[in-house]
Amino acid sequence: MVFASLEFLTLFLPAFLIVHTLSPARWRNAVLLVASWIFYGWWSPILLVLFICLTLVGWVGGLAIDRSGTDRQRMRTLIVFIGVNLGILCWYKYANIVVETIDSVRGWTGALPLEWERVVLPIGLSFIVLQSISYLIDVQRRDVDADRSLIQFGAYQAMFVHLIAGPIIRYEWVRHELRARKVDWAQFASGARRFMIGMSMKVLVADTLAPLVDLAFALPAPSLADAWLGCLAYSLQLFFDFAGYSAMAIGLGQMLGFHFPENFNHPYLARSIQDFWRRWHLSLSTWLRDYLYIPLGGNRLGALRTYVNLLLTMSIAGLWHGGDNWNFLLWGMAHGLALTGARLWADAHLPAVPALLSRVLTLAFVMLAWTLFRAHDFAAALAMYRGQFGMNGLALTSALAFAMRPAHGLAILLGIAGVMAPALAQARVRVPPRVLARVDAAWPVAGFVLSFGLITSRGAVPFLYFQF
């Protein structure tokens, strides 16, 4: 199930909120767990079995680590359970591409392709596995106690509000609220507002731009205008889709009495590539920092090792994002190289780049890297890059011009305004406070109502990070 769907908005959510609100506090985790399993199993109940197994692995793993005597035993147990989690993730995520790669190598020798039935990636698996690993490591480090309640741990793992597309919620952040949480009207209303804003971001901007992006990235020889329009539209689509979903998750969490940290902080206004990763998908970037980069040695082992660690961490981040093709790995490596380059620049004490130029260069790099991220294979990415460097002509081609609708123009304008919001807020425009307050109160509701109309009229577009 996705948030921007009729079944969620008109059936699941009203029913869940009524039952959750009327339940005694001690039953709320059970209600949340059962509802989350229904949410997860809605489209493919059979995959729920795998999900329940993963939950059991995480819960048993935590207890097993906790009961291991020495630090060495704790570490061994941790490695076993991380291995199980990663094994499941790698099978579902990378088996297809490994077989395809083997086939293409065999193809050079004239051998027939291997007989292979494609493995279907269960929704949200990557998020579930990262959460599980962070919990197991935290238990091993004695940062948190192992949860002895299967229902409570299951509710943490399964919580539908962030289940399929993050943010990646660490057990430590919510353990107190899992035991006792306060649900009141002010929290609910504030959460509702956040949810409405998130829904508006996703439906009004991201989903509206989706068909335009699909077309731009399908063009065999996009012109300069096609390629940059497609890239701009995708950059907006990805941000508004993902940040919108995160806002919905944070809002829903608030309605239930949870407080999740922010996942985005105006990433397209970043001053540098390091700054970008301090603003984009924070729950992932901090996860990578705490559970991968720092354990690898971080920047404590000398300059060369720091560069290697950066490159390795970002390459793994790229691989985590996708198993359909190797573009994701290249995307991660590109970011790793950019971070390494920035570090080299700083280490060499070269002069700082002027702030505005630095912002522009960072955004240009991020957008060029998104091209690799979005293209369905490397050849398609190269075609797009040829367009972006003007090798297929300059003007907008007829295919894209015909596909452009008034709604696309509005979504792009809305998207740019949203990205630039902090800068616009600083502009000295005199608006009476009462008008400002009314606009502030009305626009989330209006955006949500319009979004609901759009969901019903166009059908739900799946969330981009749905199968990551």
Partner: protein, 371 residues
């Protein structure tokens, strides 16, 4: 201080609005199921259907039929059209009043490979039919935006679409499968062969297409012998009447007052009466299956619109069994017809397979299995 209190006020409004919405949604579902008799699911509830999600997916579809979503969809479409002239993702406006299906202009990744794969599929079907003594004629209907290009008002089709119908047909002919592209037949000077607010041809276009197909079939060396008993077809034409267009419906603005919609087409509709030719019908044939059509037509809504079959029967002077399906795209009708009792028990001698140009390059995942 003022900002945070105004934010609290804003949140209160959002909270109230959200609760009202959730209550309305729940009420809408209840009204849909209890009052309007919208079934919770049309999918038979079996364990396999539950496990692979067919039941839940169908429930989601049914929810769209309840009052709140259907009203919200109509309001959104109407408001977008009236406010910013937006016709939704599936319809584009060319010159004022001329609507086009956006699928026609969609560029698909690997579209050329998809068209080539479909060509192989058709060739395999032709071979299988030939083994059963059945001929196949493939007919490609050109895009409306190709034929009515002058009504695009400056918007141009992508250059890569230029030869997609003709090249596909040429390659099919080269592979030994008779095929024809209706572009030349339908591209009449100063005459519109497509409806303005509908994706389909008008009667002039249907007539022209049927005439070209008739000429090709009659010129085929053994096709006349395969057309079955001759029939006489008479045509009467009604007085012109307004005709609602499917593109207006697809854009979701058909609920608006007529004055706010693009002007409707006015159509004088033909009616065809088919009578057996007494000169070629003997007593035995009347009681045998000689009177059954020897020609079967599979295809899309083009074959079911503007009396294409009537014009074809009139031209061929033969009955044509119409097995086309609305929304059949490339192979929907073919898949249904070739597995039907009608085909198995009374196979035709000639199959005409009508395929819209826009279907050729669509993703293959949309196709039913034919092999």
């Amino acid at each position: 201080m003022r900002a945070s209190s105004s934010r609290r006020g804003g949140s209160a409004w959002a909270g109230v609005g959200f609760v009202v919405f959730l209550a309305g949604a729940a009420l809408s579902n209840a009204i849909g199921v209890i009052v309007n008799d919208v079934p919770v699911t049309r999918q038979p509830i079996t364990l396999p259907a539950l496990l692979d999600g067919r039941v839940s997916q169908d429930m989601a579809r049914q929810m769209a039929e309840t009052p709140l979503p259907s009203m919200a969809a109509r309001i959104e479409r109407a408001a977008s059209w009236v406010a910013i002239g937006d016709l939704g993702p599936r319809v584009r406006q060319g010159c004022p009043g001329w609507l086009f299906l956006s699928d026609e202009m969609a560029v698909h990744a690997d579209g050329g490979a998809h068209a080539a794969a479909r060509l192989q599929t058709v060739a395999r079907v032709a071979q299988r039919l030939r083994a059963q003594g059945i001929d196949l004629m493939v007919v490609v209907v050109p895009d409306k935006s190709r034929i009515a290009e002058r009504h695009l008002c400056g918007q141009a089709r992508a250059p890569e679409f230029e030869g997609r119908a003709r090249q596909w047909v040429d390659r099919l002919n080269a592979a030994g499968v008779p095929a024809m592209d209706l572009t030349d037949a339908m591209d009449l000077p100063h005459t519109d062969t497509f409806l303005r607010t509908d994706t389909h041809w008008n009667e002039t276009g249907a007539h022209a297409a049927a005439a070209a197909l008739t000429a090709r079939l009659l010129a085929w060396h053994d096709a006349p012998a395969r057309l079955g008993p001759r029939v006489q077809v008479t045509r009467t034409v009604s007085s012109p009447e307004p005709r609602p267009g499917d593109l207006v419906r697809l854009a979701g603005i058909d609920g608006l007052p007529l004055a706010w919609q693009p002007p409707q087409d006015t159509v004088a509709q033909s009616t065809f009466v088919v009578a057996a030719d007494t000169a070629t019908t003997d007593e035995a044939a009347l009681f045998g299956d000689d009177a059954l059509p020897s020609v079967a037509l599979i295809g899309t809504s083009f074959s079911r619109t503007s009396n294409f079959v009537g014009f074809l029967q009139m031209g061929l002077q033969a009955r044509v069994a119409n097995a086309a399906r609305d929304g059949g795209e490339f192979a929907g009708a073919a898949a249904a017809y070739f597995t039907s009792p009608a085909f198995r028990q009374t196979p035709p001698k000639l199959v005409v397979w009508e395929i819209p140009e826009r279907s050729l390059q669509r993703p293959l995942a949309d196709d039913p299995v034919l092999d």
